[in-house]
Structure formats: C-alpha cells, structure tokens
C-alpha cells in the first residue's frame, strides 16, 4: 500500500519495441503514476497492469515467452485481475493472428485476429466511432484513435464488447470486470480516451480492494 497522498501506481509490461511514452503520459494525465516491468512475479501480482503493444504479434510473443511473462499474463486475465490491454495487447489475448500464423498467442479468448479486408485503407489510421454493446460498464460511445491492420471480427463469449466499422464490424474494445482490452489507443483518444482511462483506473482500484 502506498502512503496517503501519493499517486496510485500502475505497472506497464515492457513489451520491447513498443513506444511507451504516450501510454505513460496518458496514465499520468489520468492521475496514475506508471512504471515499467518485465518481472514475471510483478506481472502476476501487480494490482493494476497495462499490456501495451505495437509492432508485430510474433515479435511480441517471442519476447513475452522469453521473459516468462506469457503464463502470468494469461493467468491474471483469466482470473479477472485488473488489466488494461492496448492495441496489439488485445490481439495477444486471442489464440493467434494472421500476422504471425505459426505463433500461438496467449489464448485467453477463442478466435484469431485477421487482416482488414475489402476496399479500405490498411493500416486503419485514424478516428473511428466506437459503439458499446450490451453489458458494457466502462466503454461509452465516442470516437477513438486506431492504428491497426489486424482485428478480431467478433467478440468472444463472456465479454462485453464495443464495435467499430472498417470494411465491416470489428471489435473496438472488450471488457470483463476490471479487464479492459482496447484495439484503439485510449491514451491517444483525446478527452474521450482520458475519461475511459479514469473509469478503468477507478474500477481497477475497486477490484484491487483499494490496496494503494
């Protein structure tokens, strides 16, 4: 537990090539002090964890496996410990991705990430409207900033999802208790994204028993 008056802490998984400055700055604006880790024990036990990710899925899984982080990550998401997965972080929760076909991902949710198809620009770079489906507590309607070429086409069972459309509907984000996975970048989604970060921090704090 931190001393009264200090900022609540968030631990960010150092996924390697990911440019983390925007995530750290976004969390700071939302009122949380972030620090980076690649320690499996800390990934397992951190009261609030962020799994960021840019770059290719194969490279990210290789690093997570090499550091021994894949098991603790999958376990904490299955157990519903407060976790925020961003962009590639969402796809890492699936079984695999067209991007790196031979590489098993964390496999916390069924399904594979597939490449955008149809007459749309790839990568999707820009702001798209996010529409929450039934059961969403954290996700609200609004515009979010996306930077992705792959996506989940349908929400996995047991998760509440928000959809967006880029040549067809895809999973913009999904939540289950204090676990939130966003295909978009909340830290780059202006005031709307900032308020989502704040809601996740509040729910995560509740779930963590206020242990700060």
């Amino acid at each position: 537990m931190s001393a009264p008056g200090t900022l609540p802490g968030v631990v960010i998984v150092r996924t390697g090539t990911a440019n983390l400055a925007s995530v750290v700055a976004g969390l700071a604006r939302a009122g949380a002090a972030a620090r980076l880790t690649e320690d499996p024990a800390e990934v397992a036990s951190a009261p609030r964890l962020v799994l960021p990710g840019v770059g290719a899925l194969g490279a990210a899984m290789e690093r997570l496996d090499a550091l021994g982080l894949s098991g603790p990550l999958a376990d904490r998401v299955r157990a519903g410990r407060p976790t925020l997965a961003v962009c590639l972080g969402l796809q890492l929760l699936a079984e695999r991705s067209d991007e790196s076909p031979g590489v098993p991902a964390l496999g916390v949710v069924p399904g594979n990430a597939t490449r955008f198809s149809g007459p749309v620009r790839v990568p999707q770079l820009g702001w798209n409207r996010v529409v929450p489906g039934p059961g969403c507590r954290l996700l609200e309607e609004g515009f979010a900033y996306f930077a992705n070429s792959y996506r989940l086409e349908a929400p996995p069972p047991g998760w509440s999802a928000a959809l967006a459309d880029h040549g067809g509907p895809f999973v913009a984000a999904m939540e289950r208790g204090p676990v939130l996975a966003c295909q978009f970048h909340p830290e780059l989604s202006g005031a709307w994204g900032l308020s989502l970060l704040r809601r996740w921090l509040a729910v995560a704090d509740e779930a963590a028993g206020g242990a700060w």
Partner: protein
C-alpha cells in the same frame, strides 16, 4: 468508418516554432507545447511536428520538444526531420512520438523504411514524399529531396508504391509546386498517389482555406495537413470541419 483527419503542422527549429503564429491567449506563440495543446483543444485529430533544425544541437532540442509536447498531448503525433537510421526513429518514439516520418534519407537508402517498420511496426513508419511536376513538362511527378533543393528524377508514384511495399504505413504527400502558394493542393497528385497505394495518404502543400481541404478529400486524401491557415488564426479547426461536414465528409466532432 474511419473519419477524415485534420492535421495542423508545426515547423520547429531549435525547439521553437518557426513559422509565424498568431494565436490569441497564448503568451508565447513560439512554444510548440502550448500550440500543440491548443490545437488538440480546438479539435485537431493529430499533429505533425517537423524538425527543421540544421544542426545536431538543434536535433537534440527536437527530442526534448517531443517530450514536452507529449506530456500534455492526448492525440497522435508524427515527428519528422533528420531521421537517418532506425535509432533516430527510436529516440523520437521513446520521447513520445507515435509515428516517425522519413524523407531524404529513405530516398538515399530505401531499406531505412523496412528497418523502421520491422522494428517499430508499419503504423509507426510514415513516408514523407515531396513531389514536383517534372521540370521538362513530362507527365507525372518526380521526387524532390533536401527540402526541395534537389530533384531526383524518380517517379513519385513508383516511389510511393515501393515505400508501401517496404512497410511504410502512411504517406505524407507534399506538393512542392503548391507548398506555400496558397493556391490549393495538387489534386491530380493526391488522386494519383491515393489510387496507387492502399495505405492512408495525407495531403499537404498549398491550402489557404477550408475549401482546399475539402477538395483534397474529394480527390482521395484520407487526411489533410495545413500549417499557415491555422497558425495565423485565419481558420479554426472547427471551420475546416464545418466545411468538410457540409461537403458530406465524415469528421470527428
């Protein structure tokens, strides 16, 4: 459906914005961070920061400038200028850029694009393509480098395709003929490049009013970049979005 982005561009030298800027309510109009945050508050969808420093000392400022802007900025930021190796891109990303643009160095050594894309992802790798109509009056456009001082003879459309094939996730397309003229974007160029690649294309160079930005979108641009029309306070971001929306273009409000 992804909306069309409106992107102000800041030219920064030695840590200061160098094109004249006349915003009301800003004590120091040359401060990139203050300007950047003001643009976000106005509704800008993204920001491009081009470092035009001529010296290594100036480039050191660029990293500090990016970090200062990032601390208070909640929208994406592309940073370009002087990126010659993947490590240069890494330093800018680490400081808080979300995308890095490459220009002259990529023309000289196209593998630079692949190196950045492989290490940081295609969504981080932006090709800044400066194109001019051929001096001999021939068809098409040629790539110009070194801030327009050198014509390469390279076909702009072919270069756009090659860069996308090497992993560039976006093309920031500037018409060297129109830049600074206020006569509107080179719409034929925008249409040709937009058709030639599948990655998003940002139109740049020549805008002096919201109608020019709408025309670029109609020609095929996925995003529109402008500097002076915003800096001089002639138009707010909202004015441009009003015009785009009235023209049937979907924007973020």
């Amino acid at each position: 459906m992804v909306t069309v982005r409106v992107i102000p561009c800041l030219d920064v030298r030695d840590g200061r914005v160098v094109k004249g800027v006349k915003f009301q309510g800003l004590r120091d109009a040359g401060d990139p961070a203050g300007l950047a945050w003001n643009y976000e508050a106005q509704g800008a969808d993204e920001l491009v920061l081009l470092d035009v420093s001529a010296t290594p000392e100036g480039r050191g400022h660029a990293v500090r400038t990016v970090a200062a802007v990032r601390a208070g900025l909640g929208i994406p930021m592309t940073v370009g200028g002087g990126v010659r190796v993947a490590a240069d891109a890494g330093a800018l990303l680490e400081a808080g850029a979300d995308k890095v643009s490459v220009n002259t160095a990529a023309v000289e050594r196209p593998a630079l694009i692949s190196e950045i894309a492989e290490r940081f992802g295609s969504q981080c790798a932006v090709l800044a393509l400066d194109a001019a109509r051929r001096a001999d009056g021939g068809p098409g456009w040629e790539v110009v480098v070194l801030s327009g001082t050198s014509r390469t003879g390279m076909d702009a459309i072919g270069w756009a395709r090659e860069a996308a094939g090497r992993g560039a996730g976006e093309i920031l397309l500037t018409s060297w003929d129109r830049d600074g003229t206020g006569t509107g974007y080179d719409l034929d160029l925008v249409a040709a490049i937009s058709r030639a690649v599948r990655v998003p294309v940002i139109a740049s160079g020549g805008a002096s009013g919201p109608g020019h930005l709408l025309a670029a979108v109609r020609a095929g641009a996925d995003a529109v970049l402008a500097a002076s029309i915003f800096h001089y306070g002639r138009y707010a971001i909202a004015d441009v979005k009003d015009t785009l929306e009235a023209g049937g273009v979907r924007v973020r409000r």
